[in-house]
């Protein structure tokens, strides 16, 4: 993979991670809710996949999807603004904790609060692309748990039937809150289900951003060429609780520790150093630059304006 691409994957993973680190501080300070669903551990999956998209491609991210939204280009100050409940946030001050961030100018279409609710919207966005005869694609993120929704069947069938330019991006992190995948899936892998819809299904190491990126590049090329959807299942792990404060009674410390060894924020920099793509100085400088960017964005957001009661009735109808 091109050196520049590898470095941009690294930088983007740092943006996701340092943004989230800053958010944790805001949560600790009581400025926003602990209902936040951390993406810690899943940075390579989010960044590897979304970095394969163009700015005009569509993204339906999911509830653990701030890394996905950041990688797609949502302005970081506005994202902080959403969590702080400021008017300057993308939702104009509606949300904190789990929010419906969107940013149409970079194709971020939003989030379904009901898990699996986005499948059919993604198919509809794909239909819209085909109708308008552009070469955009739409990427829909979901977990292995949400793949059990009936909406998956309806959307996957239609997307394949109509050869819609959809990338079904499943982050299999092993658990739907507390229920392990083995207790919820009828097949060993979510990707096994792809054959039922006549589309390719691939399983990728979700802790390796290059592997995720390469698999997604192939799916995007296929979609742009009018050959239809692809199901990519990235095997990943969330290193924090489902929410901040989750007692995590459903998994062992040993299991989490095993996955920590594969933390992409540790393994990927090591790989860049070992292959000579970057020096420690390069990485340190990159981290310092991203840190500056995040701090500046947080400062802008903290100076924002909380909405008044009149906000509640605004924007209901066009």
């Amino acid at each position: 993979m091109e050196i520049d691409t590898q470095l941009s994957l690294m930088r983007e993973m740092l943006r996701v991670n340092l943004w989230e680190e800053r958010l944790f501080r805001l949560i600790e300070e009581g400025r926003t809710s602990g209902f936040y669903h951390a993406g810690r551990g899943q940075e390579a999956a989010a960044v590897g996949a979304v970095s394969a998209l163009r700015s005009d491609d569509y993204l339906l991210y999911n509830h653990r999807g701030m890394g996905q939204a950041i990688a797609k280009g949502v302005p970081l100050d506005r994202l902080f603004g959403d969590f702080l409940g400021m008017t300057e946030g993308t939702t104009g001050g509606l949300g904190a904790g789990i929010v419906h961030i969107a940013w149409p100018e970079v194709g971020v279409l939003g989030q379904s609060g009901t898990l699996g609710g986005a499948f059919v919207l993604a198919a509809g966005a794909g239909l819209s692309i085909r109708y308008r005869e552009t070469d955009q694609v739409v990427m829909c993120f979901f977990g292995e748990g949400a793949s059990n929704r009936g909406t998956w069947h309806e959307a996957a069938n239609a997307a394949s039937l109509w050869k819609l330019p959809v990338i079904w991006l499943c982050e299999n992190n092993g658990y739907s809150i507390s229920v392990p995948a083995s207790s919820a899936l009828s097949t060993p892998q979510v990707a096994d289900r792809a054959s039922a819809y006549g589309m390719p299904g691939v399983v990728v190491d979700g802790m390796d951003p290059i592997a995720v990126r390469e698999a997604t590049d192939a799916a995007v090329a296929r979609a742009r060429a009018g050959e239809g959807p692809t199901l990519i299942e990235v095997m990943t792990y969330r290193l924090r609780g489902h929410y901040e404060g989750d007692p995590e009674t459903y998994r062992s410390r040993e299991e989490v520790d095993q996955w920590r060894l594969r933390d992409p924020l540790i393994t990927f920099p090591e790989r860049l150093l070992a292959s000579g793509v970057a020096t420690q100085d390069d990485l340190d400088r990159m981290k310092a630059e991203v840190f500056e960017e995040i701090q500046a964005a947080a400062e802008v957001a903290l100076r924002g304006t909380p909405p008044g009661a009149d906000r509640v009735m605004q924007g209901l109808y066009a």
Partner: protein, 325 residues
């Protein structure tokens, strides 16, 4: 004025809007070459092609949710649920996605989606193919719920719904498809959320929609012979509900009957009654009467169906009740 059926008025509205705007498309089960389960889209695929008018699999969440996805990316989908009862299958897509997507994402999108769904009892459809679910969707803030009662309104409201930047649940009554009536020539638009005072009167106000609006007119005609003057108001939909027109009328007549096909319990008539009680109770000379469907599933046997859905005699009886006080 041209005289045409309610079904043809709907078809004309679809054809005119498909002709007018390339971002309008029609999808649903059997809406293509077959022309729809009730023939409403007949001939449209021939005329506009498979790109603009096409069949979907039996996938209601896809039909509505896919419509939402297309609507937030620049198109104006008109999707068809084969029966209005099927709103329950696509409830997340209607109640949470179509209605809320714009609001919850900070007003960054518009959702110009029309969900056509034939409602109402007609010829023994049975418990899952005869219902009128407008009240179920009344609390879906962000959604409009429209119920045309005449061919003119069928055409004018559908055209307005397609041009609206808001999602509209368009509940056409399948028992009215064959009803003929005058429809204005040329561009005919009817404003969404504006009630129609179908018949002016002074003694009692009847708020009624779809089939019951027609039963109310029959009742009004029958009672006119006895010197009773009935005002009939068709709200044309329950969200937005034109409460001003209803309140103005009730303040004049002092008596209110509300009539609809849906079951009385949880029906939209309850909301109309509550609004009148809150804002005009001092004007009421008699308790409000609701003439509504029985609180039972609708039997398939047409001989029994007619005991569940109120007819003209029930509306007459309701009017006599409010006049007896």
């Amino acid at each position: 004025m041209a005289v045409m059926s309610y079904a043809r008025a709907l078809r004309e509205a679809l054809a005119e809007e498909l002709e007018r705007d390339d971002s309008v498309f029609v999808m649903g089960q059997d809406v293509g070459a077959y022309g729809g389960a009730f023939g409403i889209t007949k001939g449209l695929q021939d005329r506009f092609g498979e790109r603009r008018v096409f069949d979907t699999p039996i996938s209601e969440t896809l039909i509505v949710g896919g419509g939402v996805g297309a609507a937030i990316t620049g198109l104006r989908p008109v999707v068809e649920l084969q029966y209005a009862d099927f709103v329950s299958i696509a409830m997340d897509e209607i109640y949470n996605k179509a209605a809320k997507w714009r609001y919850m994402h900070g007003g960054l999108f518009t959702v110009p989606l029309v969900i056509r769904a034939p409602e109402g009892a007609a010829n023994g459809g049975g418990p899952e193919h005869s219902q009128s679910p407008e009240a179920m969707l009344m609390s879906a803030a962000g959604l409009h719920v429209v119920t045309p009662s005449t061919p003119a309104d069928a055409k004018g409201l559908l055209k307005s719904a397609i041009r609206s930047n808001n999602p509209v649940l368009f509940l056409e009554h399948k028992g009215l498809y064959g009803l003929k009536g005058e429809v204005p020539e040329g561009e005919h638009l009817v404003e969404i959320g504006k009630a129609n005072v179908v018949r002016a009167g002074t003694h009692v106000t009847v708020v009624a929609w779809t089939t019951l609006m027609h039963r109310a007119l029959e009742a009004a005609e029958q009672l006119a012979a006895e010197g009773i003057s009935v005002e009939v108001i068709d709200p044309r939909g329950v969200n937005p509900l034109d409460s001003e027109t209803i309140l103005e009328s009730v303040r004049r007549t002092g008596r209110l009957v509300i009539a609809h096909e849906a079951p009385k319990t949880g029906g939209a008539g309850g909301e109309v009654a509550a609004i009148v009680a809150e804002q005009a109770i001092d004007y009421l000379a008699a308790p409000i009467v609701r003439v509504a469907g029985a609180d039972v599933p609708i039997p398939q046997n047409t001989a029994l169906e007619r005991f569940v859905i109120p007819g003209t005699p029930e509306v007459v009886a309701g009017i006599r009740t409010v006049l007896s006080v």
